[in-house]
Amino acid sequence: MAKHILAALVENRPGVLARVANLFRRRSFNIDSLSVGRTQRDEMSRMTIVMESDSAEADRLVKNLYKLVDVVHVDHLHSQPSVVREMALVKVRATSDNRREVIQLCDIFRARIIDVSAESLVVEITGEEEKLENFTELVRPFGIVEMVRTGMIALGRGGHTLKDEGFKPNRSRAAARSNVL
């Protein structure tokens, strides 16, 4: 068992996320996180899928992703140099008594405070999974009111890119293309 990070370029068409999500359910893939967003090309979205599994299972997922007509390219990013990031917004209980301590922790983690109220702070923190987890553990004693994580996103380092050559958007379909969801 190891952490597998897969990146998939998909056509930005209605229903693509449902197809991918359905695949996880249908073939019993256990997914840690899935994040989806647009790319530099309007007609293309990029998914980052993280799963804890053996490599046979990860290979099986890659092959099944490729069976989806809307999936253009899939790559393993854990097996090559890549940058992986996740962002979390954490609302930490903080009053005038202990706000300074929380701010110090944020400084150490290079986290940003993006909202302050009498009772709490909202902290934006970006980094690898481990960093996010260490941070949340350290602020937990102050009280985490609520938090949200984006799931991991990843890019290959240097010259490594996901192939999207050969992909040309369909003329008449471009208009109908709204978003991936």
């Binding site: 056509e11 229903g15 092959k63 490729y66 989806l68 007509v69 999936v71 253009v72 379909r173 109908a176």
Partner: protein, 637 residues
């Protein structure tokens, strides 16, 4: 199924089409419904199986302007999807089913799932409520693209008339290429009514995420050849992919050149003539014992266009343990799915087999064939279905008609030349065991999904696809009653399909499982049936009832002589017949329940008689030995 096929299909387009396919110069303004019809013509479609309703009515109205598209009115939408499937399987052309929204679309679902499991190319066109009403729980609204997401190769909800021509073209392209499969196109009613300039797209289809593989990598071919060269006990496992790829000739050449025996999956029947000396017959749960032994004892499996279904492998942990494995499939996700292989090759079977053929070496495997012959001789001893005049196995009950005999004799009296379409159950397995197929696409059966009710509608579709061929629907009394309303369709369309009901008054295969594994508690398997002859006569269908083996030939000949429409034979067979051999679900492939040899059978009979005497002498509990005797007396289990 290649792009060339699509090109030939296109030549079949009727020249009276509003927009001729060659020119495309002058754009014509058409409704969405008319565009659907135009696209069907461009794809070479001649028959549409379907059922009208509110949300698809604009398209049904447009069909009146396209007499070249013959519409077959089924009696249930499930029939439409099975007919489209049967049509597709008999020729490899894409079958088309059409239905309205909501219940019309949901009734297609079983047929779509059946086509998906057996990789059959069909396109289903469904009406949908108008775009503005989608999501409002409108009358007859269902999320059919959502429902069919896991059972289609791909599906579309068309939200604009502008994308309709491209969607239709992609749908057929995806259905017929690569690993074929069902594609559904859901078209809201307003999109069918809207008008737009129609120019049939002529540029090549570009789908960035879809490019079916063709040839294998040289390195993999070399690795496969090396395994073949080293093997002493090789066996080819030939599946549905062989006939779908049209690689039948290449398969025969490979087997002959390298002297490798061939085992068939159920859907692989027809991949090579079963009369071919290298063809062993069917493998798996009800396959030949010699075939299963050969697979378990082989040192090399060469799996071609098959997917190691649990019905052919039995217990995976003990499956062909001593063998290396080569697996060729067009679908990469099949490689290493159930069985881990040494060499996985992704490609078109025709191409890959030609690559292998170039360099494969002739290898005499005499010792291996001798061993298979020994297993086969043992199977022969246990055989119950012999020509009527030959001495019969002592387990065959005197004066009773066996389902297996019906199939064997049907094979003889149709000279093995018919397209047979089966339903699902015991009769299906007897068909597989006793009807020896010679040609590709001549057995049409629901293998993966095991869909009862498939037989009759699929046979109607097959006959309409191949009107030149003799088509037999071989069905059980259970499955037949699931879709027997399609008798009316066959009559209305004057489809000359011959229906053979193997009627044992039981859900026979379920009953067999209850007998073996549920201590003979025949819960919900006996059936009170209608008089099938009278039922068919109500539709004006000529019928015969057969209760003895001696009547089979005449009944079959009488059926074959009828040409104007369907015929029906009600074969009233022994109620409690068993399909042997049988690998219990999850058991090792060579751990089969066998029918005893005549010698074993007679010994068992003597032992039982003696036990019965002892039991009679004693006044003790009789129940257990009596039950054993009753069980054993039929076929000597």
């Amino acid at each position: 199924m290649s792009d060339e096929d699509a090109a030939t299909n296109r030549e079949a387009v009727n020249p009276e089409a509003v927009n001729p396919p060659d020119g495309g110069a002058d754009a014509v303004v058409l409704t969405g419904a008319e565009i659907v019809c135009e696209c069907l013509l461009h794809e070479g479609v001649d028959i549409v199986f379907g059922y009208p309703g509110g949300a698809i009515l604009p398209t049904y109205d447009a069909l009146t302007k396209y007499p070249q598209l013959h519409h077959v009115l089924t009696r249930h939408e499930q029939g439409a999807s099975h007919m489209a499937d049967g049509y597709a399987r008999a020729t490899g052309k894409v079958g088309v089913a059409m239905a309205t929204s909501g219940p019309g679309a949901t009734n297609l679902v079983t047929g779509i799932a059946t086509a998906m499991m057996d990789s059959s190319p069909i396109v289903c066109i469904t009406g949908q409520v108008p775009t503005g009403a989608i999501g409002s729980d409108a009358f007859q609204e269902t999320d059919v693209t959502g429902i069919t997401l896991p059972i289609t190769k791909h599906n579309y909800l068309v939200t604009s008339i502008d994308e309709l021509p491209e969607v239709m073209r992609e749908a057929f392209h995806i259905a017929r290429t690569g690993r074929p499969g069902p594609v559904l196109v859901d078209i809201p009613k307003d999109v069918q009514i809207q008008e737009a300039e129609f120019v049939y797209p002529t540029e090549p289809i570009q789908l960035a995420g879809y490019s079916p593989p063709k040839t294998a990598r040289a390195r993999q071919v070399a690795a496969a050849l090396e395994l073949i060269r080293k093997s002493k006990r090789p066996i080819i496992l030939a599946g549905h992919g062989i006939s779908m790829a049209g690689a039948n000739e290449e398969l025969a050449q490979l087997a002959e050149k390298a002297q490798i025996p061939i085992a068939l999956t159920l859907l692989g029947k027809g991949a090579i003539s079963e009369q071919h000396p290298l063809c062993l017959g069917m493998m798996g749960m009800h396959g030949g014992a010699e075939v299963n032994h050969a697979i378990q004892q082989a040192d090399l499996l060469i799996a071609l266009g098959m997917r190691f279904d649990d019905r052919v492998t039995g217990n995976l942990a003990t499956y062909a343990r001593g063998s290396r494995k080569i697996h060729v499939d067009i679908d990469p996700s099949e490689i290493n799915k159930n069985v881990t292989v040494d060499v996985g090759i992704v490609g078109d079977l025709g191409e890959v087999l030609r690559q292998l053929l170039d360099r494969v070496e002739r290898r005499p495997n005499k010792a291996w064939f001798d061993r298979i012959a020994e297993w086969r001789a043992d199977s022969e001893l246990r055989e119950i279905v012999r020509p009527a005049e030959a001495p019969q196995h002592p387990a065959v009950p005197e004066g009773k008609l066996l389902g297996a005999q019906v199939i064997r004799d049907l094979f003889e009296f149709t000279a093995g030349g018919a397209i047979t379409v089966t339903d699902v159950g015991q009769h299906q397995m007897w068909e597989a065991q006793y009807y020896q197929h010679e040609r590709p696409h001549s057995l049409i059966t629901s293998g993966g999904l095991g869909t009862m009710g498939f037989g009759l509608p699929a046979a109607i579709g097959a006959k309409m696809s191949r009107p030149d061929q003799e088509v037999w629907a071989i069905v059980g009394d259970g499955g037949f009653q699931m879709t027997m309303m399609e008798l009316a369709t066959a009559v209305q369309e004057r489809v000359n399909v011959h229906i053979a009901i193997i009627n044992n008054g039981f859900l026979g295969m379920v009953r067999q499982w209850q007998e073996f594994f549920y201590e003979e508690r025949y819960n919900q398997t006996p059936m009170v049936n209608p008089d099938f002859c009278k039922l068919a006569e109500a539709y004006g269908i000529p019928t015969v009832r057969v209760t003895e083996r001696g009547q089979i030939e005449e009944a079959v000949n009488a059926s074959r002589a009828q040409t104007g429409g369907p015929t029906l034979i009600d074969f009233v067979v022994e109620k409690e017949e068993i399909v042997f051999p049988m690998v219990p679900a999850g058991a090792d492939l060579d751990d089969m329940i066998r029918r005893p040899t005549p010698a074993e059978f007679e010994r068992q009979q003597r032992e039982r008689a003696a036990a019965a005497e002892v039991a009679e002498a004693e006044t003790t509990e009789l129940e257990a030995p009596a039950a054993a005797a009753a069980l054993g007396s039929r076929f000597g289990v």
